[in-house]
Amino acid sequence: MAKADILGDSLWDAYSDKVTTLMNNPLHQGELFQGEVEKRGHKLIVADFGAESCGDAVRLYWEIDPATDKIVNSKFKSFGCGTAIASSDVMTELCIGKTVQEAVKITNIDVELALRDTPDVPAVPPQKMHCSVMAYDVIKKAAGLYMGVDAESFEEEIIVCECARVSLGTLQEVIKLNDLHTIEEITDYTKAGGFCKSCIKPGGHEAREYYLVDILADTRKEMDEEKMKAAADAQAAGGGKFEEMTLVQQIKAVDAIIDENVRQFLIMDGGDMEIIDIKKADDYIDIYIRYLGACNGCSSSATGTLYAIESTLKEKLSSNIRVLPI
């Protein structure tokens, strides 16, 4: 929020002239009929996407020359607002002259770009970007019908934000690489969630399979796990500062050193030891241990063995360590 946001945008004023012109006079609005198309030796494909109960619906008509797979003519019908109608119109225009295989590569981004008056000014305000997504969805559906395959098979990756076409893989990578903590940061870096906002969390314009809030939480969790694993690895490899570790990491680190350098000798003598607790005292880090088996009550357990354990831990982990048997 700042000065520019106080009044809020005027939705329709943010439309490009092209959107306005096409809403007022769509060029490709209309229908193609089975009989006529067949008479010309062509194949008719008619696909619906959306529904009146969703607030927008589009019907796309393709007349295809089966010899070349070329879309020789295309029309649309639309129930929706100005951007829905203008997007449908441009989508239809982009399809004409392409083969079905080429048409399926048209995305909502292409539709939005085609609606711009100038290359770097968006054609529609962010919350209306969603309207162009329907154009993309209905093309995939029509192509699927013509080619006899499932519409989803044209999608190579999982798209989380349809408006900005951002994939799950991209989001996970960007969150990790840039150490992102908030949805706002994700939107700044990827544009995902910056348009119709459906993909941010449940309860938006439409239900989604993946939501940014969950992806962020899961990725952060994964990052934390990786971080801890890295810390443990670093410790095992001799790096990392013992004083800065969490208690669990300290116990693991001490256990690792004991395992590697001490335990085998204790076991050889029929004994063992366990770590009871680690406490931070004023100048020391006190590690409380308990001897097990033969070590328990052994005379050197309070002298030589104890000294050996303590000096090993001091050398490997921290010079402030004190080992206290109980």
Partner: protein
């Protein structure tokens, strides 16, 4: 010609009102709380405005009518102070309201829910009104407040306020009504109907924006929302907005004087417009006319999306409103359409036309013509009226409502 048919959103300020306000900007500008004559010079005009408001609503001298900045403030004041007085500092924990209230009530209730208050949102019937027996059945001994709008901004439908008032009185529960769409449109007699609190706003009846009021029956206790200089007998602090209070006074007088006569004139125009529009096939209007504010029509037109229709009306210089918008962040299916149980297909097709006493017969005729043309154009584009069926497998699934 341009036609403004969005009078439930706001109205033109009556030029007579603007004229009456004029002296209180640069001529009589003293603070009414000052002791000197600059301040006291405004007192006669404020006293007159107070009289005008009391007379318009037939409020008793023992009642309070406190000027606020808007009805949103009045609604917040009642809800938040009932919360403070009877829930935080009392033994109640429950508020009863309806699903179709204005956002200034619904959002405040959501906020109070976050503070731990239980809120019941009552459904409405197919007329878009709440039934008195429904209100009665949800009142418990923990209920602090019932808040039900007098008339709906979306549909114009009038709730049974007198009956609900009696129920609340009998049960000993406070009763608040958001009267924004009723005051100035239909008779409101606060001695004939039991209401503890009534919110209203000047800009809905040809007064200026930025001034509203809250009626408080019998001057009963209600903690202030705004603390400060103890203006208006300590009930609402903030320097009195003298020109706007003067404007509100005249506006409410003009709106309620001969109200039956004014209503009849507006109703005749509204009914003619409605009769003509429902001649279009596959349309319906929400709610019986007899129980509706005389200026409002909420019409659904199959196959024509609400925002698209507004676009075409706007191209014809007609200002109307829709409760739904396609694919936008905030505006989804018309909530009132959903609440009254309209078919899902119709929830995105509502257009609200709201007249005022300034609407002319010529404007109505112009609107009828342009409206029909717009419907014809958009239905010609609409997939809802397409003839060629989809290729097998190309049909769309109906979507879940959201």
């Amino acid at each position: 010609m341009q036609v403004y048919l969005d009078n439930n959103a706001t109205t033109m300020c009556d030029p007579l009102v603007v004229e009456a306000m004029q002296p209180y900007f640069s001529e009589v500008y003293g603070n009414p709380n000052s002791l000197h004559k600059f301040g006291t010079a405004s007192h006669p005009a404020i006293a007159k405005a107070i009289d005008q408001v009391y007379t318009a609503l037939n409020a008793a001298d023992a009642d309070d009518i406190i000027f606020t900045s808007c009805a949103t403030e009045s609604n917040n004041w009642v809800l938040q102070s009932v919360f403070t007085d009877h829930i935080v500092n009392g033994d109640k924990n429950h508020i009863v309201t309806t699903e179709v209230e204005h956002p200034s009530v619904l959002s405040t209730c959501k906020f109070l829910e976050e503070q731990g208050v239980k809120v019941t949102y009552l459904p409405v019937n197919d007329q878009g009104t709440v039934e008195a027996h429904t209100v009665k059945s949800f009142i418990t001994e923990k209920t602090a407040l019932v808040s039900v709008m007098w008339a709906s901004n979306e549909t114009g439908m009038i709730n049974p306020i007198a009956e609900i008032g009696e129920i609340c009185k009998e049960k000993g529960v406070l009763f608040h009504s958001d009267g924004v769409q009723a005051v100035g449109k239909i008779p409101v007699d606060l001695q004939a109907v039991h209401v503890d609190f009534l919110s209203f706003s000047a800009h809905k009846f040809h007064g200026p924006k930025g001034v509203g009021a809250l009626y408080i029956k019998d001057s009963q206790p209600l903690s202030p929302l705004l603390h400060g200089g103890e203006q208006m007998n300590g009930r609402r602090s903030g320097t009195l907005n003298v020109p706007y209070i003067v404007g509100m006074g005249l506006a409410i007088e003009l709106a309620t004087k001969n109200i039956e006569n004014t209503m009849a004139k507006i109703r005749a125009k509204r009914d003619h417009l409605e009769d003509e529009l429902v001649k279009l096939s596959e349309t319906f209007v929400v709610g019986d006319r007899e129980n509706r504010t005389p200026n409002t029509i909420l019409i659904s037109i199959r196959g024509v999306e609400g925002e698209g229709m507004l676009w075409d009306l706007n191209n014809g210089q007609i200002g109307a409103s829709t409760g739904s918008a396609c694919a936008s962040e905030d505006l989804e299916a018309n909530t009132v359409m959903l609440a009254i149980g309209a078919d899902n297909e119709l929830a995105h097709t509502g257009i609200r036309l709201s007249l005022s006493r300034f609407t002319t017969d010529e404007e109505i005729e112009y609107t009828i013509n342009h409206f029909k043309e717009a419907v014809a154009r958009l239905r010609a584009i609409s997939s809802s009226f397409a003839k060629q069926a989809p290729t097998k497998g190309g049909e769309a699934q109906a979507c879940e409502m959201h």
